[in-house]
Protein backbone atom coordinates (compact mmCIF):
# COMPACT_ATOMS: atom_id res chain seq x y z
CA UNK A 1 0.00 0.00 0.00
CA UNK A 2 1.35 3.45 -0.80
CA UNK A 3 0.84 6.51 1.34
CA UNK A 4 -1.63 7.94 -1.11
CA UNK A 5 -3.97 4.98 -0.79
CA UNK A 6 -7.28 5.59 0.91
CA UNK A 7 -8.14 3.59 3.98
CA UNK A 8 -11.36 2.28 5.38
CA UNK A 9 -13.66 4.59 7.23
CA UNK A 10 -12.51 5.15 10.77
CA UNK A 11 -14.06 6.75 13.87
CA UNK A 12 -12.14 9.78 14.99
CA UNK A 13 -12.52 12.42 17.65
CA UNK A 14 -11.97 15.99 16.48
CA UNK A 15 -10.36 18.21 19.07
CA UNK A 16 -9.64 21.92 19.04
CA UNK A 17 -6.39 23.54 20.10
CA UNK A 18 -6.69 27.29 19.78
CA UNK A 19 -7.95 27.99 16.29
CA UNK A 20 -6.87 24.66 14.80
CA UNK A 21 -8.52 21.28 14.77
CA UNK A 22 -6.83 17.91 15.02
CA UNK A 23 -8.10 14.35 15.22
CA UNK A 24 -7.40 11.31 17.30
CA UNK A 25 -8.52 7.77 16.54
CA UNK A 26 -11.65 7.20 18.62
CA UNK A 27 -10.34 3.95 20.06
CA UNK A 28 -7.57 5.96 21.72
CA UNK A 29 -10.02 8.22 23.54
CA UNK A 30 -11.35 7.22 26.95
CA UNK A 31 -13.43 10.27 27.83
CA UNK A 32 -13.76 14.03 27.80
CA UNK A 33 -13.50 15.49 31.28
CA UNK A 34 -14.07 18.93 32.75
CA UNK A 35 -10.94 20.62 34.07
CA UNK A 36 -10.14 19.49 37.57
CA UNK A 37 -7.49 20.25 40.13
CA UNK A 38 -4.03 19.61 38.83
CA UNK A 39 -1.48 18.20 41.25
CA UNK A 40 2.17 19.10 40.74
CA UNK A 41 5.20 17.50 42.33
CA UNK A 42 8.94 17.58 41.72
CA UNK A 43 9.80 15.90 38.42
CA UNK A 44 11.95 16.48 35.34
CA UNK A 45 9.65 15.63 32.41
CA UNK A 46 8.99 19.17 31.25
CA UNK A 47 6.20 18.18 28.86
CA UNK A 48 4.08 17.02 31.80
CA UNK A 49 2.28 19.79 33.71
CA UNK A 50 1.20 17.58 36.59
CA UNK A 51 -1.44 14.97 37.21
CA UNK A 52 -5.19 14.88 37.68
CA UNK A 53 -7.24 12.32 39.55
CA UNK A 54 -9.81 10.59 37.39
CA UNK A 55 -11.91 7.73 38.77
CA UNK A 56 -9.20 6.93 41.31
CA UNK A 57 -6.52 6.84 38.65
CA UNK A 58 -3.60 9.26 38.50
CA UNK A 59 -3.48 10.67 34.97
CA UNK A 60 -0.59 12.84 33.74
CA UNK A 61 -1.49 16.07 31.95
CA UNK A 62 0.42 16.81 28.77
CA UNK A 63 -0.18 20.06 26.88
CA UNK A 64 0.48 19.12 23.27
CA UNK A 65 -0.57 22.56 22.00
CA UNK A 66 2.94 23.96 22.24
CA UNK A 67 4.22 21.33 19.81
CA UNK A 68 1.25 21.59 17.47
CA UNK A 69 0.35 25.28 17.39
CA UNK A 70 3.48 26.82 18.88
CA UNK A 71 2.01 28.06 22.16
CA UNK A 72 0.46 26.69 25.32
CA UNK A 73 -3.30 26.86 25.67
CA UNK A 74 -4.47 30.00 27.45
CA UNK A 75 -7.82 28.47 28.26
CA UNK A 76 -8.39 24.79 29.00
CA UNK A 77 -12.01 23.95 28.58
CA UNK A 78 -11.71 20.18 28.81
CA UNK A 79 -9.27 17.34 29.24
CA UNK A 80 -9.42 14.73 26.52
CA UNK A 81 -8.38 11.56 28.31
CA UNK A 82 -6.51 9.43 25.80
CA UNK A 83 -4.88 6.04 26.03
CA UNK A 84 -1.58 4.83 24.65
CA UNK A 85 -1.00 1.13 24.19
CA UNK A 86 2.20 0.18 25.97
CA UNK A 87 3.96 -3.17 26.35
CA UNK A 88 2.22 -3.59 29.69
CA UNK A 89 -1.38 -2.45 29.33
CA UNK A 90 -2.74 0.97 28.52
CA UNK A 91 -1.21 4.25 29.60
CA UNK A 92 -3.64 7.12 30.21
CA UNK A 93 -2.82 10.71 29.43
CA UNK A 94 -4.90 13.90 29.73
CA UNK A 95 -4.67 16.34 26.83
CA UNK A 96 -5.95 19.87 27.52
CA UNK A 97 -8.18 21.04 24.66
CA UNK A 98 -9.73 24.43 24.10
CA UNK A 99 -13.14 23.45 22.80
CA UNK A 100 -15.71 20.73 22.63
CA UNK A 101 -14.83 17.56 20.77
CA UNK A 102 -16.77 15.86 18.01
CA UNK A 103 -16.98 12.21 17.04
CA UNK A 104 -16.93 11.71 13.28
CA UNK A 105 -16.53 8.96 10.71
CA UNK A 106 -13.93 9.75 8.09
CA UNK A 107 -11.75 8.15 5.47
CA UNK A 108 -8.12 8.27 6.50
CA UNK A 109 -5.11 8.72 4.30
CA UNK A 110 -1.98 7.45 5.99
CA UNK A 111 0.89 9.84 6.59
CA UNK A 112 3.65 9.97 4.06
CA UNK A 113 7.39 9.80 4.56
CA UNK A 114 7.65 13.58 4.41
CA UNK A 115 5.08 14.14 7.15
CA UNK A 116 6.03 14.98 10.72
CA UNK A 117 6.27 12.03 13.13
CA UNK A 118 3.26 13.34 15.06
CA UNK A 119 1.02 12.81 12.00
CA UNK A 120 -0.42 9.30 11.91
CA UNK A 121 -2.78 10.02 9.04
CA UNK A 122 -4.90 12.70 7.38
CA UNK A 123 -8.62 13.10 7.09
CA UNK A 124 -10.89 15.48 5.28
CA UNK A 125 -13.90 16.89 7.10
CA UNK A 126 -16.21 19.65 5.83
CA UNK A 127 -13.59 20.86 3.42
CA UNK A 128 -10.84 20.96 6.03
CA UNK A 129 -7.80 18.68 5.91
CA UNK A 130 -7.01 17.57 9.45
CA UNK A 131 -4.03 15.79 10.97
CA UNK A 132 -4.78 12.55 12.81
CA UNK A 133 -2.33 12.58 15.69
CA UNK A 134 0.22 9.98 16.63
CA UNK A 135 0.19 10.30 20.41
CA UNK A 136 3.36 8.30 20.87
CA UNK A 137 5.27 10.94 18.94
CA UNK A 138 3.68 13.83 20.83
CA UNK A 139 3.79 12.66 24.41
CA UNK A 140 6.80 11.60 26.47
CA UNK A 141 7.63 8.15 27.70
CA UNK A 142 5.90 6.18 24.97
CA UNK A 143 7.38 2.79 24.21
CA UNK A 144 6.86 1.67 20.64
CA UNK A 145 4.46 -1.23 20.36
CA UNK A 146 4.37 -3.20 17.15
CA UNK A 147 1.49 -2.16 14.88
CA UNK A 148 0.01 -5.65 15.18
CA UNK A 149 -0.49 -5.03 18.89
CA UNK A 150 -1.47 -1.42 18.57
CA UNK A 151 -5.00 -0.40 19.42
CA UNK A 152 -4.94 2.15 16.62
CA UNK A 153 -5.72 0.08 13.59
CA UNK A 154 -3.89 2.22 11.08
CA UNK A 155 -2.01 0.27 8.45
CA UNK A 156 1.69 0.72 7.81
CA UNK A 157 2.22 4.18 6.39
CA UNK A 158 5.45 3.50 4.56
CA UNK A 159 5.46 3.14 0.79
Amino acid sequence: MTWTDQLDTCSCVLLRLGERRFALAADQVAELAAPSRIFRFAQKTTEIDGVILRRGRVVPVCDIAEKLIGKKLQQRRFYLIATRRQPVGLDWIALPVSGECELIQADLTPAGPADSPHVAAWLSHKGEVIEVLNLNALTPGAIAVSPRDSSMSLPEARA
Binding site: F41, Q43, I93, G141, I143
Partner: protein, 177 residues
Protein backbone atom coordinates in the same frame (compact mmCIF):
# COMPACT_ATOMS: atom_id res chain seq x y z
CA UNK B 1 -19.93 -34.07 50.27
CA UNK B 2 -19.89 -30.48 49.26
CA UNK B 3 -18.29 -27.96 51.45
CA UNK B 4 -19.26 -24.36 51.40
CA UNK B 5 -16.57 -22.17 50.03
CA UNK B 6 -15.84 -19.34 52.35
CA UNK B 7 -14.50 -16.27 50.61
CA UNK B 8 -12.46 -14.25 52.99
CA UNK B 9 -11.96 -10.68 51.88
CA UNK B 10 -8.28 -10.28 51.12
CA UNK B 11 -6.74 -7.99 53.69
CA UNK B 12 -5.80 -4.57 52.39
CA UNK B 13 -2.04 -4.21 52.39
CA UNK B 14 -1.16 -1.06 54.20
CA UNK B 15 2.13 0.67 54.70
CA UNK B 16 3.12 3.17 57.34
CA UNK B 17 4.55 6.32 55.79
CA UNK B 18 6.01 9.61 56.93
CA UNK B 19 4.86 12.70 55.08
CA UNK B 20 7.67 15.22 55.06
CA UNK B 21 8.13 18.71 53.66
CA UNK B 22 10.90 19.92 51.40
CA UNK B 23 10.58 23.42 49.99
CA UNK B 24 6.87 23.47 50.82
CA UNK B 25 6.18 20.31 48.84
CA UNK B 26 4.96 17.14 50.48
CA UNK B 27 6.62 13.79 49.91
CA UNK B 28 6.09 10.40 51.49
CA UNK B 29 8.66 7.87 52.61
CA UNK B 30 8.07 4.45 54.08
CA UNK B 31 8.48 4.53 57.87
CA UNK B 32 10.27 1.21 57.61
CA UNK B 33 13.08 2.82 55.64
CA UNK B 34 13.74 5.50 58.26
CA UNK B 35 15.82 4.37 61.21
CA UNK B 36 16.05 7.62 63.13
CA UNK B 37 14.87 11.18 62.90
CA UNK B 38 17.23 13.77 64.33
CA UNK B 39 17.22 17.51 64.54
CA UNK B 40 19.82 19.28 62.45
CA UNK B 41 21.15 20.92 65.60
CA UNK B 42 21.86 17.60 67.29
CA UNK B 43 24.31 16.65 64.54
CA UNK B 44 25.70 20.09 63.80
CA UNK B 45 29.00 19.54 65.61
CA UNK B 46 29.53 16.02 64.34
CA UNK B 47 29.08 16.65 60.62
CA UNK B 48 32.06 17.20 58.38
CA UNK B 49 31.76 19.47 55.38
CA UNK B 50 32.25 18.00 51.91
CA UNK B 51 33.00 20.01 48.81
CA UNK B 52 32.41 17.90 45.74
CA UNK B 53 31.36 20.14 42.84
CA UNK B 54 29.67 17.31 40.95
CA UNK B 55 27.40 16.53 43.92
CA UNK B 56 26.10 19.80 45.30
CA UNK B 57 23.21 18.06 47.03
CA UNK B 58 25.68 16.49 49.48
CA UNK B 59 27.45 19.01 51.70
CA UNK B 60 28.05 17.00 54.86
CA UNK B 61 28.96 13.54 56.07
CA UNK B 62 28.41 12.05 59.49
CA UNK B 63 29.99 8.96 61.04
CA UNK B 64 27.76 6.12 62.19
CA UNK B 65 29.63 3.12 63.56
CA UNK B 66 32.21 2.12 60.96
CA UNK B 67 30.60 3.95 58.02
CA UNK B 68 30.07 7.44 56.77
CA UNK B 69 26.54 8.57 56.01
CA UNK B 70 26.14 11.25 53.38
CA UNK B 71 23.64 13.99 54.06
CA UNK B 72 21.52 14.61 50.96
CA UNK B 73 19.64 17.91 50.87
CA UNK B 74 16.16 16.90 49.69
CA UNK B 75 15.36 20.29 48.16
CA UNK B 76 18.46 20.26 45.96
CA UNK B 77 17.98 16.58 45.10
CA UNK B 78 14.45 17.28 43.81
CA UNK B 79 15.48 20.51 42.08
CA UNK B 80 13.43 22.72 44.40
CA UNK B 81 14.13 26.11 45.90
CA UNK B 82 16.36 25.53 48.96
CA UNK B 83 14.71 26.21 52.31
CA UNK B 84 16.09 25.92 55.85
CA UNK B 85 16.12 22.26 56.86
CA UNK B 86 15.23 21.25 60.40
CA UNK B 87 15.41 17.46 60.44
CA UNK B 88 17.61 14.63 59.24
CA UNK B 89 16.25 11.18 58.42
CA UNK B 90 18.86 8.48 58.93
CA UNK B 91 17.80 5.85 56.45
CA UNK B 92 17.84 2.19 57.37
CA UNK B 93 20.43 -0.05 55.65
CA UNK B 94 21.59 2.92 53.63
CA UNK B 95 24.54 5.31 53.39
CA UNK B 96 22.14 8.23 53.08
CA UNK B 97 20.85 10.72 55.60
CA UNK B 98 18.14 12.96 54.24
CA UNK B 99 17.88 16.64 55.11
CA UNK B 100 14.23 17.75 55.15
CA UNK B 101 12.31 20.82 56.26
CA UNK B 102 10.01 18.98 58.62
CA UNK B 103 7.52 16.20 59.18
CA UNK B 104 3.95 16.83 58.22
CA UNK B 105 2.51 13.70 59.78
CA UNK B 106 2.75 9.94 59.96
CA UNK B 107 -0.02 8.02 58.30
CA UNK B 108 -0.91 4.87 56.40
CA UNK B 109 -1.24 4.33 52.68
CA UNK B 110 -3.35 1.56 51.26
CA UNK B 111 -2.46 1.86 47.60
CA UNK B 112 0.71 2.72 45.73
CA UNK B 113 0.11 3.55 42.08
CA UNK B 114 2.93 3.14 39.60
CA UNK B 115 4.38 6.36 38.26
CA UNK B 116 2.67 6.86 34.86
CA UNK B 117 4.90 5.99 31.91
CA UNK B 118 4.75 9.59 30.67
CA UNK B 119 7.18 10.50 33.44
CA UNK B 120 10.42 9.39 31.87
CA UNK B 121 13.34 11.15 33.54
CA UNK B 122 15.01 11.13 36.97
CA UNK B 123 11.66 10.96 38.71
CA UNK B 124 11.51 7.28 37.78
CA UNK B 125 14.54 6.77 40.05
CA UNK B 126 13.33 9.19 42.72
CA UNK B 127 9.91 7.67 43.30
CA UNK B 128 8.46 4.24 44.03
CA UNK B 129 5.13 5.57 42.84
CA UNK B 130 2.28 7.85 43.82
CA UNK B 131 -0.31 7.57 46.52
CA UNK B 132 -3.57 9.42 47.01
CA UNK B 133 -4.24 10.74 50.51
CA UNK B 134 -7.22 12.97 51.31
CA UNK B 135 -7.72 13.71 47.59
CA UNK B 136 -4.07 14.78 47.23
CA UNK B 137 -1.48 13.04 45.08
CA UNK B 138 1.74 12.44 47.02
CA UNK B 139 4.94 11.05 45.50
CA UNK B 140 6.42 8.19 47.52
CA UNK B 141 10.20 8.46 47.45
CA UNK B 142 12.51 5.55 46.86
CA UNK B 143 15.18 5.40 49.61
CA UNK B 144 17.67 4.00 47.10
CA UNK B 145 17.10 6.88 44.70
CA UNK B 146 19.06 9.54 46.54
CA UNK B 147 22.62 8.40 45.75
CA UNK B 148 23.89 5.88 43.24
CA UNK B 149 26.58 3.35 44.11
CA UNK B 150 29.01 5.37 41.97
CA UNK B 151 28.19 8.56 43.85
CA UNK B 152 28.77 6.82 47.18
CA UNK B 153 32.15 5.56 45.95
CA UNK B 154 33.03 9.08 44.89
CA UNK B 155 32.03 10.47 48.28
CA UNK B 156 34.00 7.72 50.06
CA UNK B 157 37.04 8.78 48.08
CA UNK B 158 36.49 12.44 48.97
CA UNK B 159 35.97 11.82 52.69
CA UNK B 160 38.47 8.96 52.98
CA UNK B 161 41.33 10.92 54.49
CA UNK B 162 39.12 12.82 56.92
CA UNK B 163 38.42 11.43 60.36
CA UNK B 164 34.81 11.95 61.37
CA UNK B 165 33.56 11.78 64.95
CA UNK B 166 31.16 8.90 65.55
CA UNK B 167 27.63 10.22 66.14
CA UNK B 168 26.09 6.93 67.21
CA UNK B 169 26.33 7.91 70.85
CA UNK B 170 25.60 11.58 70.25
CA UNK B 171 22.51 13.27 71.62
CA UNK B 172 19.51 10.95 71.45
CA UNK B 173 17.35 10.91 68.35
CA UNK B 174 14.16 12.92 68.08
CA UNK B 175 12.44 9.73 67.05
CA UNK B 176 13.55 6.15 66.62
CA UNK B 177 11.41 4.17 64.22
Amino acid sequence: MRTATVHKPSPIRTEQIILFRASNQIFAISSASVQEVRSVDSLAGAAVEITEPSLVKVRHAIRRGDRNLYVVNATIHFGLRPTPAALIFLLRKSRVALLVDGIEKMTTMTRLQALPGAFCHEERIWYRGLTVLDQNVIPVVSPSGFLTAEEILLLDAVTGPQSLPDTTEATGPELTL
